[in-house]
């Protein structure tokens, strides 16, 4: 990518640069992020008991929550991009399959997807394994022994469910690019896939950056649903601490504040990425 062109000079009044131009361009919502971060730090390191103990207990959960969200989001982006390309495909079968995927998955709550993959799928595996073992003992045993860790199950569940939402985000982005762009690319001899790769998708990604960031933050919050699986995320660690200490108010307040710190942070990062992209496009 080329260097972005030099940004427009700050607003001037009577030829003099307006003072505090840095301040006016500064995204003030960062202040809310720092305020909440300060409250958390004050509780944990200033007030100490019980918050210091709670934090020590749940901090592993923060890492798990972030890992789960980021790993899932990576796969969600891949599924969403392929799904989005499928939704605008000229091939009826591909288009139909992508649409069916979106319609079916969107109609089922994320929590139910997670429960199904974690509790229902193993039963299916056992039935299948016991049936196969009758005529192919080796293969049957392999099926019966197949165990997926809770973390992987959670990633799969989120990828399936959010992949459908992301498919629609990508479809909308691709369709927002004027038809002339594809025609110009094709008229230069580019193949459909090349035109998508070099012309349509780079523009579509700029368009869908806000909804993409929104999906990420929603996923970060929905990741708390995995506490029904055996994944020790932030929420589950909080519940475990409450179970042993009965400090419901303090624990869940701290958990809530930590989620807020994370979502505020990622919302800000998305916003500044959007700004940079729009400067580059000028």
């Amino acid at each position: 990518m080329a260097d972005p062109p030099t940004p427009a000079p700050p607003f001037t009044a009577g030829g003099m640069p307006v003072e505090h131009s840095r301040w006016t361009r500064f995204d003030r919502w960062w202040l809310l992020f720092f305020a909440v971060l300060a409250i958390v730090a004050l509780l944990v390191y200033g007030v100490q008991p019980p918050y210091g103990d709670i934090f020590a207990f749940i901090k592993d959960g923060i890492v798990v929550t972030l890992q789960l969200t980021i790993v899932s989001f990576f796969f969600i982006l891949i599924v969403g991009m392929l799904g989005g390309l499928g939704r605008v495909s000229g091939n009826r079968i591909i288009r139909g399959a992508s649409s069916l995927y979106v319609e079916v998955v969107r109609g089922i709550p994320v929590l139910v997807w997670l429960l199904w993959i974690w509790y229902a799928l193993p039963q299916l595996r056992d039935s299948l394994g016991n049936w196969v073992i009758g005529f192919a003992p080796g293969l049957g045993q392999m099926i019966l022994d197949a165990r997926i860790p809770a973390f992987t199950a959670a990633v799969v569940g989120f990828t399936v469910a959010y992949g459908a939402y992301m498919t629609e985000v990508f479809r909308a982005g691709i369709q927002s690019i004027p038809k002339g762009q594809m025609e110009a690319a094709r008229s230069l001899g580019m193949r459909y896939i090349q035109a998508m790769r070099y012309i349509i998708l780079p523009q579509a990604v700029r368009v869908i950056l806000p909804p993409m960031g929104n999906e990420f933050v929603t996923l970060l919050k929905d990741s708390s649903l995995v506490s029904v699986l055996a994944v020790s995320d932030l929420t589950r660690r909080g519940r475990e601490f409450v179970a042993r200490s009965f400090l419901s108010f303090d624990t869940f307040t701290l958990v809530a504040l930590i989620y807020l710190v994370m979502t505020l942070f990622f919302t800000r990062v998305t916003t500044s990425a959007e700004r940079r992209m729009s400067v580059e496009k000028r």
Partner: protein, 246 residues
């Protein structure tokens, strides 16, 4: 006729119930500049777009540089690389600079190295008169400059044929001349050009032949001088009287 580069034979195209091209036949010789005029909806843009298969036709045959476009096994991308197209709305790639607009397809279709492609781009930007705009994004350029970049982008592929689909219709009046000048120079260089336009000055100056279309049919096909001085058909006369009056 020697050196036929485009042969269009009895082509029909339907958009739903609209008969956009109604038994159109047209031959173009290599090096010829052909201007197509006609009222809006007469099928002239559709005809142009069918030549590089942006608009597949329903029946008839189109042969470009010896390749049948209507054949099942035709590599349409190979044909398109030989046929440059300039659009009414420019259709520059807004996320790329002027130079990148010109180099991208060279690198991925013509397999040129970045260095080669950039040299071609700089030479062409020079030819169209805006060498200083290489690093500008399309949104930083005027309409006339954008259209000149679009012409350079098409020329960078070394096409044998250039198609112009109302290249000046979206431009402010003071920018039309700079684009027409580039097109005139291109016509003088011997490029085969098919131009859909309402610029009768350009038709007079550059065209060897002029085609008048109406309701999907080729009504009249003659030289510019004859068309303007002695149009044969009533519909041609009516159309010319409307566009030449003001």
């Amino acid at each position: 006729m020697a050196d036929l580069i485009i042969e269009i034979k009895h082509v029909h195209k339907w958009f739903g119930r609209v008969h956009a091209l109604d038994d159109v036949s047209l031959d173009v010789t290599a090096g010829e500049v052909l201007v197509i005029i006609g009222p809006s909806g007469s099928g002239k843009s559709t005809l142009l777009r069918s030549i590089n298969h942006l608009e597949p036709v329903n029946s008839g045959d189109i042969i470009v540089d010896g390749i049948h476009l209507t054949g099942k096994s035709t590599d349409i991308n190979a044909v398109r690389a030989e046929v440059g197209m300039v659009f009414q709305q420019f259709n520059l790639f807004p996320h790329l600079t002027a130079q990148q607009n010109i180099t991208l397809a060279q690198c991925i279709v013509r397999k040129r190295t970045t260095g080669e492609a950039e040299k071609v781009a700089r030479d062409l930007l020079d030819t169209v008169g805006i060498p200083e705009k290489a690093d500008s994004y399309p949104s930083q350029l005027s309409g006339g400059q954008q259209q000149r970049v679009a012409i350079a982008r098409a020329l960078a592929m070394n096409p044998k044929i250039m198609l112009f689909d109302e290249p000046t219709s979206a431009l402010d009046p003071e920018m039309i001349k700079e684009v027409l000048d580039v097109m005139l120079a291109l016509a003088k260089s011997g490029m085969t050009m098919l131009v859909v336009t309402h610029e009768m000055g350009f038709a007079r100056a550059a065209a060897q032949r002029i085609v008048f279309m109406d309701e999907g049919k080729v009504i009249e096909e003659t030289t510019p001088d004859l068309l303007f001085t002695a149009p044969k058909h009533e519909r041609t006369k009516l159309f010319l009287s409307k566009i030449l009056e003001h």
